[in-house]
């Protein structure tokens, strides 16, 4: 069973469209409302998704892990995680699923830099720094380590256990691939950056804090 997990925080204006796009490729959609103060939950339910709601905002990592746990309880064998801000194109899902279906990978990372996409220069720099921090912390290079669009195969679904609550979870997933010796694949995907998605992204200070936490935790773990 293929389940999509969408962590969402104040995404009432976008969530219905993302659910609609994803529904064509999965059997169930789980939206994790991470303490939104708008009507994200109501919109998600109206669009046919199952909603799990955090009473407080815990961060993207915590919301993703809640969604993964909910999907496990529903019997998911494959989990797709996708951002709620419409930056990803659900039409890329079949390409991301292929390495799992062909039993070539346990985790598939979307790579927003693998094809021609209009990505602001500053975003490229931030993601590059994120990749380098991830390499230092985990010893593994991933072309787009900070992307929220991923597919987890049966082995990863059974074993994954994220502990980091914030955006550091992306690096933690790479660490999990090293720890559990999961096979990875990287698939170029489309990305659409709008003013909305850019405003939703991490600020520089938040990025520095995230990098610091990753390095500190990898050292003191």
């Amino acid at each position: 069973m293929i389940v999509a997990v969408i962590p969402a925080y104040n995404e009432a204006s976008r969530i219905a469209s993302v659910i609609k796009g994803v529904s064509a490729y999965v059997e169930q959609v789980i939206v994790v409302d991470d303490g939104s103060t708008d009507i994200t939950s109501a919109e998600a339910i109206a669009s046919g998704a199952r909603v799990v709601k955090h009473m407080h905002n815990c961060g993207a990592g915590a919301a993703t892990m809640t969604g993964i746990e909910a999907a496990r309880r529903l019997g998911a064998t494959v989990i797709i995680t996708i951002d709620a801000d419409e930056q990803h194109d659900p039409k890329d899902i079949p390409a991301l699923l292929k390495p799992i279906r062909d039993n070539l990978a346990d985790v598939v990372f979307a790579n927003r830099f693998g094809q021609r996409n209009k990505i602001p220069f500053i975003r490229r720099v931030f993601n590059g720094i994120g990749n380098i921090v991830t390499l230092v912390a985990t010893g593994r290079w991933v072309n787009d380590s900070q992307c929220g669009f991923k597919v987890f195969g049966p082995r990863a679904v059974g074993q994954i256990n994220l502990r980091m609550s914030g955006f550091e979870f992306c690096t933690e997933i790479v660490r999990e691939t090293v720890q559990h010796r999961w096979r990875i694949a990287q698939v170029p995907t489309k990305v659409v950056y709008s003013e909305y998605t850019l405003a939703k992204g991490q600020s520089f200070s938040n990025g520095v804090r995230t990098a610091f936490k990753i390095l500190l935790r990898s050292f003191l773990r």
């Binding site: 799990v52 009473m55 915590a62 809640t66 496990r72 309880r73 985990t138 059974g158 050292f219 003191l220």
Partner: protein, 124 residues
């Protein structure tokens, strides 16, 4: 070579910490990479303690010119290490709170009981 207690104690401490790190790695609580980072860091401390002369080129910049200063700098390093450790502990308390919120969300999410749909290969 006349060794001071400091030159004997610090490399022994470094050896202990490195063995601890590799023990964690063997028990799969640390990755090999993380154990290598620890080994690199503590080896450096042990080497500097054993042969403080190799820091000679840094002495002008840091002011470390003798054993007393080296001990002070090491103590400051240990204090930093302790502060980092407290930060990690605080973070773990935050994680505990997050786990509680997540558990409540899953409980209220009308989901099947995990004991009837368990993932026995989870390894956790």
């Amino acid at each position: 070579m006349n060794l001071t207690p400091y030159q004997i104690g610090v490399p022994l401490l470094a050896l202990f910490v490195m063995l601890y790190a590799w023990n964690l790695a063997l028990r799969k609580k640390k990755t090999i990479w993380e154990a290598l980072l620890w080994t690199f860091f503590w080896s450096g401390i042990a080497v500097v303690a054993f042969w403080p002369g190799i820091l000679g080129y840094l002495s002008a910049a840091t002011g470390i010119k003798d054993q007393v200063n080296a001990v002070l700098v090491t103590c400051i390093g240990i204090l930093f290490f302790m502060v980092f450790y407290i930060i990690i502990r605080l973070e773990e308390m935050g994680q505990r709170q997050t786990r509680t919120i997540r558990s409540l969300a899953l409980r209220d999410g009308d989901l099947p009981d995990p004991t009837h749909n368990s993932h026995k290969n989870s390894g956790k």
